[in-house]
């Protein structure tokens, strides 16, 4: 079979869509992180707007609900002076049976310049990117279990801010990794940026052995997983996992894999604790840790806006 060019990059290797961190060269990731730094300073100005996307229409297409993520994308787009339209797909024509591609075609006819898409099925943004006109750009805001690239990037920005160099870092990702698009994006980003060791930590039902193929060390005990770690990323545990016979209860999970102050002491003393949010206090993380001195969960949110501004402005400036 013909090997196809990564649909996210144009013929010159420039980013035109952001669909997944996988397959992006280190230079592209670094460009995004560096640009995000510039935009952080914009957020401190009196006039928190730059005209880079002025006159452009950004359509937020969220097939899966998420007020948080949608809001940060909206803020980011507006700070770039774009017009933002939020589409509540659940209540719109798609619910009436309009196909995904018909929805996109109709919106394109309204001169959308960029789609920010969140969908419950892995791969949906690729389908969309394949079918939009050449000047239209697609940003994946999360597709099924596959990828959440802007979250991965803001996690990397956070790590770079506190730890500077990836080369010597041991990063532990704890939780429901098999179902997590955030985990996959973090893993791809960390391995591309050259982290020394990435560990996937959790019970076997949530962290299967074949994750090794992604370049991680699989650990089935929290103690082994976070020992001497520089960064701990805790993932949200969803209620559905209890009903699928993957876990007996949130309580037992917390006892064995919840990040408490005691357990945190096993990591390096200057280790940072991250979480993509929203937090389930007392399930994957203790309040004392979430609010404690090693937690960088709130800065992550700030960086999220700058990273999304960086992504949007970079892709909008590149032609297909």
């Amino acid at each position: 079979m013909l090997s196809k060019r990564n649909p996210q990059l144009n013929a010159h290797g420039e980013l035109i869509h952001l669909l997944s961190i996988e397959g992006l060269p280190k230079a592209v990731l670094t460009q995004i992180l560096d640009t995000a730094g510039t935009f952080l300073s914009v957020n401190d100005r009196e006039v928190k707007k730059v005209p880079l996307l002025r006159g452009k229409s950004v359509f937020n297409l969220f097939f899966e609900n998420s007020t948080r993520t949608r809001t940060t994308f909206e803020i980011a787009a507006k700070r770039l002076s774009a017009d933002v339209i939020n589409l509540d797909i659940a209540r719109s024509s798609t619910a009436k049976g309009e196909s995904l591609l018909d929805t996109i075609a109709n919106l394109s006819a309204m001169h959308a310049d960029m789609f920010v898409v969140r969908h419950a099925e892995s791969g949906a943004p690729y389908l969309i990117a394949q079918h939009v006109a050449p000047h239209v750009h697609v940003v994946n805001a999360g597709d099924g279990r596959h990828a959440h690239p802007t979250q991965g990037l803001l996690d990397m920005y956070t790590i770079r801010h506190y730890k500077q160099d990836f080369a010597n870092l041991t990063v532990a990702i704890v939780g429901d990794i098999v179902h997590s698009r955030v985990a996959r994006s973090d893993i791809h980003a960390l391995t591309t940026l050259g982290a020394a060791e990435v560990r996937a930590v959790g019970p076997r039902t949530l962290v299967p052995g074949d994750l090794k193929a992604m370049g991680v060390r699989v650990c089935h005990s929290l103690e082994e997983g976070i020992k001497d770690a520089d960064v701990i990323i805790t993932l949200r545990l969803q209620n559905e996992r209890m009903s699928g016979a993957l876990l007996p209860s949130a309580g037992e999970y917390f006892k064995n894999f919840g990040l408490t102050e005691d357990k945190l002491a096993l990591a390096k003393s200057d280790a940072i604790v991250m979480h993509p949010g929203p937090i389930n206090r007392g399930v994957e993380i203790d309040s004392a840790v979430a609010d404690g001195r090693q937690s960088v969960i709130l800065p992550q949110v700030t960086y999220g806006i700058a990273v999304r501004m960086a992504v949007m402005s970079i892709i909008a400036g590149n032609d297909a």
Binding site: V47, S313, I314
Partner: protein, 166 residues
């Protein structure tokens, strides 16, 4: 065939002399990245001004974003003082079409409302496409559009010019 030779150090000395009388007591120097920023740094010292000059970038307000995309990221704006009500002396190495100055002015106004902005440049090479004029320029030259003129600075901090193109 003659090669144009500009003595950057000599022109700097000239710029310094012309800028001194323009300087209001409460003025602030802001240099346009990168050449203007180097000049502002030296002027700040030579004019005996306290603190550091501001550095300003045109990256976020350029009018060619649609065709060129986002430029490099190392040229961030850094203004270590408030802009509101301040008299600003804007420094650039080469003034050409005026578009960079326009972008920089927009960037500056995102930070506040200056009392005034005065433009001082090392070289004015004509070719203006916007109604922008410097209060002071140390030299006026005419170069073909195919040539690029940039200020350089060596390890010892000495200025020189680089001319690229035919």
């Amino acid at each position: 065939m003659t090669t144009l030779h500009l003595d950057a150090e000599a022109l700097y000395a000239d710029l310094l002399a012309r800028v001194r009388p323009l300087l209001r007591p409460d003025a602030a120097l802001v240099g346009i990245w990168s050449g203007g920023a180097w000049l502002a740094e030296r002027l700040q010292r030579d004019l005996g001004l306290a603190g550091k000059p501001g550095v300003i970038s045109s990256a976020l307000h350029r009018d060619d974003f649609g065709s060129r995309g986002l430029a490099g990221t190392t040229d961030a704006t850094a203004l270590p003082f408030a802009i509101d009500g301040r008299h600003i002396l804007l420094i650039d190495d080469v003034l050409y079409t005026g578009r960079t100055t326009r972008a920089v002015l927009n960037e500056l106004f995102d930070f506040g409302r200056p009392a005034s902005v005065t433009l001082a440049v090392l070289v004015d090479r004509g070719g203006r496409e916007l109604p922008i004029e410097p209060a002071v320029s140390a030299a006026r030259v005419v170069l073909p559009p195919s040539q690029k003129l940039d200020l350089t600075r060596d390890a010892a901090g000495r200025f020189d010019f680089a001319i690229e193109g035919t």
